[in-house]
Symmetry: C2
Subunit: 494 residues, 2 copies
């Protein structure tokens, strides 16, 4: 694609100036529309070293209100970033609705460099590409405009610019070893870039090339591309264009319906105490091992109100070194969270490698409470099954052990526990009117849970039902599953 690209002939300077004047004022208008229509705009800027991305960005934003955009330099990962999934540092910086984010350097730069330097295998590279394409598609499907720009210069121009920069003390620091390397291996880089662009040129996030032979000309192209892209996105938003519900492509395990799961399992106090001590000791050892092997572990809890999630989590947490885990209680999203992709607030809470994150309620809220209470559109929650599977696949590719629990009780047991909470002063804070309202919708929720588990019970992130009419039984079962899942991963790594 890039190799065959036929550039628009660069107009003369006067024409550029004239067109620029118009384009700038159009962009200023679009900025207000973006704000008004709550469109989030993500602009990623890739290209050759010394193509002038930074200066062009500086020119473009001069005409924008600095309160409505952020520029993110993402060329170098921080030490924190390196302990998170590959897409982490890009995901956590996505703009909120009505805002622009400009990324200087994106996931393209990161993966193509890694490939060129031989830091990753071709297989890993392909895995990254798949994740990238999903990420861009999810952003689009969730209302984001993603504009991808590649700033292009030819080999000679690059060399000339690097030589010029190096010749002055003031600018020589801007020439990095990798810029020089790129110029020396221009053709090889071009091949890799071209292949990457071809592979990631999607309807939902197409590539645009910017002829960067002059700054002013590049500014004009970038501004015009932005204006046109925003117009398209606003039209689509107005037309309420729905994203297709994709077919599942992940291997699924069969899942029984909740109604078919017997809840008569119990355990004596004696058995419980003995098993609890043994299992907690074992988990403690394993926590030490995953810390040293830098394996991240994610434990997700969902279940009925009063099913015993809190007490169950406590028995897991009690076995862990407090410096190596975190419990995240998930309530309704805060404004800054609601203004972004619904998975954003979970990306920002991911553990470091070697650490454990326990989620008390999760991203599955999308296909339960948000679905049933109408907090998102039908298209939104229908799409979410696949989006969530993709999210978990990304975590799995990163190396995470993912354990998902549904804590199950029957309706009578819930009533008993609600009544007990209501009548016991120390427990009253645990019961709210909302709990009673949710209870009335038990059957609707049960259908939603059955559908959710059937559609997200992937081989790499399976569901486990914890029969919790007897809380002791459920706690021991949870501990066993956590232990087995970690042991399995350690075995695989041997």
């Amino acid at each position: 694609m890039l190799k065959e690209w036929v550039k628009e002939k660069r107009p003369d300077d006067e024409t550029i100036s004239q067109r620029l004047e118009i384009a700038r004022s159009e962009l200023a208008k679009r900025q207000m529309l973006v704000k008004e229509h709550k469109l989030p705009v993500l602009v990623i800027m890739d290209g050759w070293g010394a193509a002038g991305k930074g200066s062009v960005l500086g020119r473009v934003i001069k005409n924008m209100d600095p309160r409505f955009f952020k520029c993110e330099t993402l060329t170098e990962p921080t030490s924190e970033d390196l302990r998170k999934p590959f897409l982490y540092r890009y995901f956590v910086k996505i703009p909120k609705e009505g805002q622009f984010s400009f990324y200087d350097g994106s996931w393209m730069e990161s993966v193509t460099n890694s490939l060129l330097q031989g830091d990753i295998t071709k297989k890993k590279y392909k895995e990254y590409l798949t994740g990238i394409k999903r990420f861009e598609r999810q952003l689009n499907d969730n209302g984001y405009l993603v504009v991808k720009l590649f700033f292009h210069i030819d080999e000679k121009t690059q060399k000339k610019r690097l030589d010029e920069l190096e010749s002055s003390d003031v600018t020589s620091w801007r020439v990095s070893d990798s810029d020089r390397w790129q110029n020396k291996h221009y053709k090889k880089c071009l091949d890799v870039f071209d292949e990457y662009i071809e592979a990631t040129n999607q309807f939902v996030a197409p590539w645009y090339f910017v002829d960067s032979s002059s700054k002013k000309w590049a500014e004009l192209q970038m501004t015009e591309i932005l204006v046109a892209s925003i117009d398209t996105a606003l039209k689509n938003a107005e037309a309420k264009r729905e994203a297709p519900i994709l077919q599942n492509t992940f291997a699924m395990k069969k899942m029984p319906k909740l109604a078919d799961i017997p809840l008569d399992k119990t355990m004596t106090d004696e058995e419980y105490q003995k098993e609890l001590d043994e299992l907690q000791d074992r988990l403690k050892q394993l926590h030490n091992e995953i810390y040293h092997k830098k394996i991240p572990v994610i434990i997700a809890y969902e279940g009925w109100d009063a099913a015993g999630k809190g007490g169950n989590i406590k028995r897991i947490a009690a076995a862990l070194d407090p410096r190596g885990y975190e419990v995240h209680p998930i309530a309704s999203p805060e404004p800054a969270e609601k203004a972004r992709h619904y998975l954003w607030r979970f990306w920002t809470r991911l553990p470091k490698d070697g650490h454990i994150a326990i989620f008390d309620r999760t991203w599955y809220g999308r296909v339960m409470v948000e679905r049933l209470e109408g907090f998102c559109s039908e298209n939104d929650w229908q799409r979410a099954y696949n989006e969530i599977n993709e999210f978990e696949k990304e975590l799995c590719d990163w190396g995470a052990v993912i354990i998902k629990f549904w804590v199950q009780i029957d309706k009578d047991t819930q009533l008993e526990r609600f009544t007990d909470r209501q009548n016991t002063p120390e427990k009253q804070w645990k019961i709210t009117d909302e709990d009673w309202r949710n209870r009335e919708k038990w059957d609707l929720y049960e259908d939603a849970v059955d559908e959710m588990m059937a559609k997200t019970n992937t081989a790499f992130a399976p569901w486990h039902v914890l029969e919790s009419n007897d809380k002791k039984y459920a706690r021991i079962k949870a501990l066993k599953i956590v232990i087995k899942s970690i042991e399995k991963r350690l075995e695989e790594l041997k």
Copy 2:
């Protein structure tokens, strides 16, 4: 203090077990009270290497609900932390109301180590101590319970434990070079710790020593200290104990009243365009210099509605490299922000060194809108002048250039601009009912602003009034002040 400490004689094992049973159940009850009364609790854990902080913490939290606390390992700063003020990594992790945070390693560990290793001068150390004492006092004054624990063992016990840990392959990694160093220089360390503890033993955040000769005994002491501290804090909260309004101790510059500032300054379009180009060029160069010298710059904008803050900020931003600055529009706080110290949301937005942060409205909201609308108590906003001066002093000690602008117009000019906004479709988003309501309180606001500027016009972070009846004049003046402030700092560093 530590050296003279007379330990409680360690009870026999049975007594410890009995007391522990009671203490654990008391702590479980306190946890619910903490939640109910929205008390934020910060527990910092310092002490000798191999004193067993981690294991004791693990035991204590076993009896707590993991949804209501977080454990933070703060022994090593990240690469990001190192580019922020010293207290940054501690401030951004403070708990929200109703929650506990346990810090494994605190600012004590950091500064005493730096002193012992000779990484900082005695003078810098004293500066840190001052900042630390202010930080702890501010937390207390803003409703936090700060519990400071020092886990104590003697030289011999430490040596024995380190030897034991090293003798096994499973545990040897837990012995660091610095643990060994500490044991070899036990007496020297003891002197430094003792002096630090003496200097930071404040009413608002007293020290507690924990005899760590056995884990169970240490757990008991820690649990009992927590219970007693929580009880005191809850009583104080109930009695609505007010914090004293401290006397100002910072050098202040005299500030004229707003009413005495003439607003007749104007500028021709021609002068404006010429000066603008020259000043923006100069600021661009300086941005490059501060980036290389790693100087952080913080520019704070306050002013009347429609005074022209946005356009003014835009003229500054246009001169800057987009990768080196960020604009933070400040609206009313989100729930997670409101649930913490009011300066938290500004700490989390501080720039990295070498970067510029521009705040469109600031922490001064506390003594303007929050004061006048009753969003905080009188004691809160009265205290805030000093708290803010201390905050800015901390930034200044870090090396930041701090520039504070008040964008000033008269009442007639505001009316003109409001009316224009109302009547111009593209500008209507800029004017809300709230703006009109605020206008009605002009005189109250003017008094508050006069008081604010008089009380926070410190030598290290002075206010600058931008006469903005003529926006062009105000923009040029702002650019000149930013340039001069940066030049001054560069000069000082020579």
